[in-house]
């Protein structure tokens, strides 16, 4: 886990955020991430993010569920214990359909949700640095990573010129770690306070 420094800017409106994100990328600053209180459409395009492949994962899990159900039931009824139920065939495909459908849905839903958690690296007990206490309320927050080449003052001024409400420099761990949100972070004392809490 790397300790890094960031220039963090808060915006009051998504209509100001989107052009700012585009301009930051055009300037070549290293955009770490953007935190918003709701999905801002167009943000992924502005940041140059690809569409997620979660749908494909969902399809694969679903197909796995279909295969598990069909093969499982067929093996049980045909091979493991062929039981005569009212003289019906041992391979009654129509009456396998409901369970096949349910397992398809179950596998797809559970698998996709777990993949979703894995990709986002979220789980109970996972802690990440929160840049702005109101990034989940009404502020739109952009964090730019400070590299050895970064001119911090220039970046700050650039952000303020592009609609940022407040800009500050924060030190934080980059990724996630096991921890509780009730515990203070190591760098909480160094990092400045936002004027809006």
């Amino acid at each position: 886990m790397a300790i890094k420094q960031y220039v963090v800017a808060s915006f009051r409106d998504e209509d100001q955020l989107l052009p700012a994100v585009k301009k930051v990328r055009m300037q070549g600053y290293k955009l770490y991430d953007v935190f918003t209180p709701f999905p801002v459409h167009g943000l992924d395009a502005a940041m140059g993010l690809r569409q997620t492949a979660l749908h494909t994962a969902g399809f694969i899990y679903g197909a796995l569920g279909t295969a598990t159900a069909l093969l499982g039931m067929s093996w049980i009824f045909v091979v493991s214990w062929p039981l005569d139920i009212g003289g019906k065939p041992h391979f009654p495909l129509p009456s396998f359909i409901p369970i096949t459908f349910e397992l398809t849905v179950l596998f797809s839903a559970v698998g996709t949700t777990l993949t979703f958690c894995w990709l986002n690296q979220i789980m109970p007990g996972v802690k990440k640095h929160i840049f702005h206490p109101r990034q989940s309320d009404d502020r739109f927050v952009m964090a730019i990573e400070i590299t050895p080449k970064t001119q911090v003052e220039e970046v700050k001024q650039f952000l303020l010129n592009n609609g940022a409400e407040e800009v500050q420099v924060q030190t934080a761990e980059e990724g996630w770690w096991y921890g509780l949100f009730s515990k203070r972070e190591k760098y909480d004392d160094i990092n400045p306070q936002w004027s809006v809490q």
């Binding site: 709701f38 009654p92 559970v110 990709l119 989940s136």
Partner: protein, 481 residues
């Protein structure tokens, strides 16, 4: 121009709101200590729950014989309650999944509470078949697992087994859908929390969510995917429940219209329950600006529609019984309407067919006390529908010597009361400690559908055409730069 929606459509959020105000309105009741009313309600709910536990204990200790079932009527209150509770759950999924796919913006105000209702209702429903097994410690026999008895497997031809898969899948997927949408709002509570325990608890429950662009992108993809999966799932669940009856050869049960008939009935009763809960919730938590009259009217329209489908099914049943010329089928309906339980059929028709017709009047659709009363009437009607289908098809069977009357005994009634206790205990805890309205979804529709934003649209709509065109061109020119 990015956020434009015609003023012809009613606003989804009333009042003068910005993002922060929305958060305050919905999250701040969670941060306060629970009031007296809440404790009293919780006390009632837990008492009911404990009475249910006692009833179930009594039934398990002495055996199913303490219930009122007999040789002729083998299924009665218990299965009635099962079908009733599962049905109630269906409205939540309809709101969260089907209305999402149909891009119905008004779902955002009601989906969270409705989904929670789904989960708790299915939880209650699941109790009935499990405890009906009698020797409940063998309940795991319904799962196909390799065992030392052969292995002896379950019967995959049986709709009762399909039910096991359908209901358990439904519960799982509903929980995933509900909770994945809840995570960002829990993160909001966490970021606002002042007390240590709140930070700890909501920190754990928020999974470390921060709302990065990629997280949101994946969450929306997940939501859409789960909606796509839940839509056929919810239709399949009540279809499978109906097949518990329809694949039998009991007159009155053996009907091909059962799957759609049951699904429509489920949505009918489910929306009634959503109305009951939300009318109370919006009043107590002061959320009238988020669950508006427009929301209530929209749900009443769905109640009317599904009520109409159900009425059509009743008529079809009667017509087919006559038209089929099958004497047993005709007998089943004769005794359903004219037998000793005639009053149950009258209640069913009054509550489900006659009274929803009052919703043709717009004034009544938008009248809250009336809607509240109607929501309870519909739920009573739908309980009687299941009771009529189950008990009234059985009590006068093929042989007059086997005809009986059925009345419930206290452990069955207590069990039913107990599930109300379970339901309301869960709902009260949820409504106190989690946001009953999806805050982030409200934020994302606020600028298109909030009342104060819509008023700006009104000014735009009344503008002179030339002036309007010039402004649009100007904006486009700006955007191009």
């Amino acid at each position: 121009m990015l956020h434009y929606e015609s003023t012809v459509r009613e606003p989804l959020v009333n009042g003068n709101k910005d993002y922060h105000q929305v958060t305050e309105d919905i999250i701040s009741p969670i941060e306060k200590k629970p009031g007296k009313l809440w404790w009293i309600a919780l006390g009632f709910a837990v008492t009911m729950l404990l009475f249910g536990v006692w009833s179930v204990f009594w039934e398990t200790y002495w055996g199913i014989g303490v219930w009122g079932e007999n040789r002729t009527v083998g299924w009665a209150w218990d299965i009635t309650n099962f079908v009733w509770w599962v049905g109630i759950g269906h409205a939540g999924t309809l709101i969260s999944a089907i209305l999402l796919l149909f891009r119905q913006g008004w779902r955002t105000g009601v989906n969270r509470a409705a989904e929670a209702m789904t989960i708790f209702a299915v939880l209650c429903a699941g109790q009935f078949p499990v405890w009906h097994m009698g020797r409940v410690w063998l309940a795991f026999f319904i799962l196909p697992y390799p065992n030392s008895r052969g292995p002896l497997w379950v019967n995959f031809n049986s709709p009762l087994l399909w039910d096991v898969f359908a209901v358990s899948t439904y519960l799982t997927v509903s929980i995933l859908f509900w909770y994945s949408g809840l995570i960002p709002d829990v993160a909001t509570i966490r970021d606002r929390a002042k007390k240590k325990f709140a930070k700890f608890f909501y920190g754990l429950c928020s999974f470390g969510w921060r709302g990065t662009a990629k997280e949101w992108q994946r969450l929306e993809a997940l939501g859409l995917l789960l909606a796509g999966l839940s839509t056929p799932l919810v239709l399949s669940v009540h279809s499978v429940v109906s097949m518990d009856f329809a694949t039998s050869v009991i007159p009155g049960w053996h009907e091909t219209i059962f799957p759609p008939y049951f699904v429509a009935g489920a949505i009918f009763s489910g929306f009634a329950m959503v109305q009951t809960l939300l009318i109370l919730t919006r009043k107590i938590l002061h959320l009238e600006e988020y669950v508006t009259l427009g929301h209530i009217e929209a749900m009443n329209k769905i109640i009317m529609l599904t009520g109409g489908i159900v009425a059509m099914a009743y008529i079809t049943e009667l017509f087919i019984a006559w038209y089929s010329n099958v004497v047993y089928e005709q007998g089943a309906f004769w005794w359903r309407i004219l037998g000793p339980y005639w009053w149950a059929y009258i209640i069913l028709i009054t509550c489900n067919v006659v009274s929803p017709q009052l919703f043709w009047f717009k004034k009544l659709r938008r009248n809250i006390p009336f809607t509240f009363v109607m929501s309870i009437v519909v739920n009573i009607g739908m309980w009687f529908e299941r009771f009529v289908i189950i008990v009234l098809s059985l009590y006068h069977d093929y042989m007059p010597s086997a005809w009986v009357y059925y009345s419930p005994r206290w452990p069955e009634v207590g069990f039913y009361i107990g599930t109300f206790g379970l339901f309301f205990t869960c709902y009260l805890l949820f409504a106190k400690y989690f946001p009953v309205i999806a805050v982030w979804e409200i934020r994302s529709v606020l600028k298109t559908s909030g009342e104060n934003y819509k008023q700006k649209m009104a000014a735009l709509e009344q503008k002179d055409t030339e002036e309007f065109l010039q402004e649009v061109q100007h904006e486009h020119a700006l955007a191009a730069h």
